[in-house]
């Protein structure tokens, strides 16, 4: 909403609150001049603001009330009860309209005329007004200056530092347990406060997008083009400071898109496109990043021309260009001093541009991605961190120096002494091999000129271009840190992404993973390391989540299919429409569970998705993330993709395809078969695999509370299991025999008998 309008709403609301008392007093004593003046001033102010803000409806209401009250002030009219009621009616209506504006909802205006008519001197008395029904949407907000928020944030940081100082002193002096408990509570409260204060800094992206329609319109008019703007995701929240920093890049990209991206109207017609160009600006959250996407349906980037210009401007030689990949050539638009336009104009094309945009975005820890569709348009996506201020980091040490590394950049941390890790020197380059994968090794100590021993720990760092191992002395801590840009001269070192003040009270630098790679002279090429490496003999399959299933079995499910792991209340799960379903966000999601869900307990769920459909799989406990072997032992049971050996253990790997296809008998539906075991173990050894392969689950002993769907016993066993007597299938040793038992090797008849019993029981 427009800032001015918001201010008007807030102001009117505040005055109305103050006025409530005056109105009651005036009602009691209509002759009270001071009260009358207060109300007059109110409607007068509203009238004034309305003209300015173009709110005709409020203007009409306040104007009518003002006229009537002016007549009273001039002594032309006596304030009788009818008039008081009518004025109160107007004041209340003004309040309602203001709330409606604030809430962005429509309010029926048919009774406005009645309210105004009631002000007339000869109007029939209206029913006395009482507090109105659709009360304000309990807007519990106040206006604060940004300055105040900043002071609050910095006060918060000071408080944390003071707490740390106190804690240090107490530790040195050996404090009493009671004092320590108080300190503990203080720390806890502080942490909560810090979270809250941080949240106050969030603002809707709307503030960034609000100016776009006008800007797009003006820019389009300047260059004589027609543009339709679509804005989406204005309600995404972003750190206030970040919004400010995004403003320039966004404006620049949009102006570029209109000026360069969209073709002239005639050219669009020739290309068979609508004369009006389309520009889509959207924001969405993805993990701890915000993606701001600007898409046009213009001509896209002419990569060949950009490359030609790069040669012309001597940025690259022809040979260099020829050696570049398509993506690298597209990236040339970010080269300083290069513009895809041949002539400069008032809007863009002066060659100051995309390089600055990229620098700005990267400076705040973001990155920028181009999706070029030549002839059809260009989409630019800016990935920026959710908040500038708080980054989840890992604190590492080399020698006496400490650094923070963004957690996002680190894929894994391994000890140099761990199995499967070796360090080698290749010429003057260092090489780390981690589980068969070779990568460059950058020892941070020597790079940063810090005195230190050989690296003890490797952090596998991912950058835009490739990954490498960063050699460190120690990994000390993980910390959520408030990171700010360092001074330009420090940033110019190229190693750092910012500076921060952790709880220790000593400043710390945040390392920039890409910068370190550049400083160490690493050059990544697109060519993947050859796969036929002797070391890489053990082919590795996809990653999977290892978990304990509800029946206690350890199973695995490929990680790619898992959207998230969550805990929900058991009461959200019900057997409806022939299957288990879970209520989630207003819709139902099919749920697989091996055992009945306890309605009162919490359930851990794996939320699975194939990109379109969602499924849930109930588990007992997630255990670990592992790499599956490339080949699985085939499973005899539908619903299981195979059996993998993980750390020497057999693990059933769930057939995700079957889950989604819904064709498999999910393990949940495997009926329980009780084997009344014989002394020789024939049942357990011979029969059990056959029956399990037919989709049953076999036990020799019922767990408490379990009931078997069917039971099997030899016909010569004297004491058949009582609990399942009704569904008992008897087996005999010889092919010949009566109808009340089945020959034990007649597999088809056996399975049919089991199925028949189970089917009847359902």
């Amino acid at each position: 909403m427009d800032d001015l309008l918001q201010e008007f709403v807030a102001e009117t609301r505040e005055t109305l609150e103050a006025l409530a008392g005056e109105i009651v007093a005036w009602e009691a004593d209509p002759g009270d001049r001071a009260r009358l003046d207060a109300i007059f001033r109110f409607v007068h102010t509203v009238k004034g603001s309305c003209g300015f803000l173009d709110l005709p409806r409020l203007a009409r209401l306040s104007h009518a009330a003002e006229d009537a009250l002016a007549a009273v002030r001039d002594g032309d009219r006596h304030p009788d009860l009818a008039l008081v009621n009518a004025v109160l009616g107007i004041v209340d209506r003004i309040g309602e309209v203001v709330e409606a504006i604030d809430g962005g909802v429509a309010l029926d205006d048919t009774s406005d005329d009645l309210l105004i008519a009631a002000l007339a001197e000869d109007a029939a008395p209206v029913a006395p007004v009482t507090a109105q029904g659709p009360a304000r949407g309990a807007s519990r907000s106040v206006r604060l200056s940004v300055d105040l928020l900043d002071r609050m944030m910095s006060g918060m940081s000071d408080l944390v530092l003071a707490r740390n100082e106190l804690a240090r002193r107490l530790r040195d002096d050996g404090a009493e347990p009671a004092v320590e408990a108080s300190l503990e509570r203080l720390s806890h409260t502080l942490a909560e406060m810090r979270d809250t204060v941080t949240r106050t800094r969030m603002q809707r992206v709307e503030t960034l997008f609000a100016a776009l329609p006008r800007m797009v319109r003006d820019t389009a008019a300047e260059v004589g083009k027609q543009v339709t703007l679509h804005v989406e995701g204005a309600d995404v929240e972003l750190d206030r400071e970040m919004i400010e920093l995004m403003r320039d890049p966004l404006v620049h990209i949009i102006r570029n898109a209109i000026d360069h991206g969209l073709e002239e109207i005639a050219e669009r017609r020739v290309a068979g496109k609508p004369a009006t160009g389309t520009l889509r600006v959207s924001a969405r959250q993805s993990g701890n990043q915000i993606l701001i996407e600007i898409a046009d349906d213009g001509r896209g980037i002419d990569v060949a021309r950009i490359a030609a210009k790069a040669v012309e401007h001597r940025i690259h030689t022809q040979a260099e260009i020829a050696a570049m990949s398509e993506a690298d050539r597209l990236d040339l638009v970010f080269a300083p001093g290069l513009s895809s336009r041949d002539t400069a104009n008032a809007i863009s094309g002066r060659g100051v541009g995309m390089d600055v945009v990229r620098a700005n975005v990267e400076q705040i820890g973001g990155r920028i991605v181009l999706l070029n569709r030549p002839g059809q348009g260009l989409t630019i996506v800016m990935h920026v961190p959710l908040t500038l201020s708080i980054i989840s980091t890992i604190v590492v040490g080399v020698g006496a120096q400490r650094f923070a590394i963004p957690r996002q950049a680190i894929e894994e941390i391994v000890s140099v002494r761990a199995a499967g890790v070796r360090l080698d020197r290749l010429g003057d380059a260092a090489l780390a091999t981690v589980r068969g994968e070779r990568m460059p090794l950058v020892a941070l100590g020597p790079l940063a000129g810090v005195d230190c021993a050989e690296p003890q720990v490797l952090a596998i760092v991912v950058t835009r271009d490739g990954h490498y191992a960063l050699g460190l002395d120690a990994v000390l801590d993980t910390e959520e840190l408030v990171v700010r840009p360092a001074a330009p001269v420090v940033m110019a070192a190229g190693l750092y992404a910012g500076q921060t003040l952790p709880d220790s009270g000593l400043p710390m630098l945040l390392l920039d993973a890409g910068g370190i790679a550049a400083a160490a002279g690493l050059r990544f090429t697109a060519a993947a390391p050859s796969e036929d490496d002797a070391d890489a003999a053990v082919a590795v399959g996809p990653q999977a989540l290892l978990f304990d299933d509800l029946d206690g079995q350890r199973r695995a499910l490929v990680l790619a299919a898992i959207d998230r792991v969550e805990r929900i209340a058991g009461s959200a799960v019900r057997w409806t429409g022939g299957r288990l379903r879970l209520v989630s966000g207003g819709t139902t999601v099919p749920l697989h569970a091996l055992t009945p869900i306890d309605e009162l307990a919490e359930v851990t769920l794996l939320r699975l998705t194939d990109g379109e459909t969602e499924l849930a799989y109930a588990i007992a406990e997630p255990a670990d993330i592992v790499a599956l072997p490339a080949t699985l032992a085939p499973a005899a049971v539908p619903g299981i993709a195979g059996v993998a050996v993980i750390a020497g253990d057999q693990v059933e790997v769930i057939d995700v395809h079957a889950l989604f296809a819904g064709i498999a008998l999910p393990p949940a539906a495997r009926p329980l078969c009780l084997l009344h075991a014989d002394a020789g173990g024939w049942m357990d050894n011979f029969l059990r695999p056959a029956i399990e392969a037919s989709g049953y689950r076999c036990v020799a002993q019922l767990a408490p509370g379990e009931t078997a769907a069917v039971a099997l016993a030899m016909d010569d066993v004297a004491d058949p299991p009582v609990s399942a007597a009704a569904n008992l299938v008897r087996l005999r040793r010889s092919p010949a025999g009566g109808p009340d038992s089945i020959y034990r090797y007649d597999r088809a008849a056996l399975v049919a008998a089991l199925d028949a019993r189970v089917g009847a029981a359902r």
């Binding site: 530092l161 620098a359 120096q401 000129g449 001269v489 420090v490 110019a492 003040l501 000593l506």
Partner: protein, 141 residues
């Protein structure tokens, strides 16, 4: 026109720092080194909840490193960043009239870049300096 100046000693010389440039005057705590940066950057220090970049005045002037235990500093703000400029000693704050540097006076490298004029304290000429000029600027990328 008189201006307010902070009289200080840097690199063994008396200088006058324009008071408008001075945010505060502090004794710094521990300074954390910043590897691979301009040698004039001594490191980072915490100032309440703020991180300041500590500038080794001696190196910035090109007259050699300041003493390792130098902790007294003048805080100034340049382009939104706070810098602590190490000084040997601080003397006084007083109003003076800034005069142009005597013609023909050859100020060497570093001094020439920061000198903005002269003030006279009890007949003793003191160089008025622009401490912001001590902050090393990164080369344009």
């Amino acid at each position: 026109m008189t201006e307010l100046f902070l009289l200080a000693q840097i690199a063994g010389r008396a200088v006058a720092i324009e008071a408008a440039q001075v945010v505060s005057v502090v004794d710094l705590g521990e300074i954390v080194a910043v590897p691979r940066t301009d040698p004039a950057v001594r490191g980072l220090a915490a100032l309440r909840s703020r991180v300041v970049t500590v500038i080794d005045t001696g190196v910035a002037l090109g007259v050699g490193r300041s003493a390792c235990d130098a902790r007294r500093a003048v805080i100034t703000q340049v382009d939104g960043h706070h810098y602590a400029i190490l000084v040997d000693a601080l003397e006084d704050v007083a109003p003076f009239v800034r005069r142009p540097i005597s013609s023909g006076l050859a100020l060497d490298g570093g001094w020439g870049a920061i000198g903005t004029g002269l003030i006279e304290r009890d007949d003793e000429p003191v160089l008025a300096i622009d401490i912001a000029a001590l902050v090393p600027q990164p080369l344009a990328a």
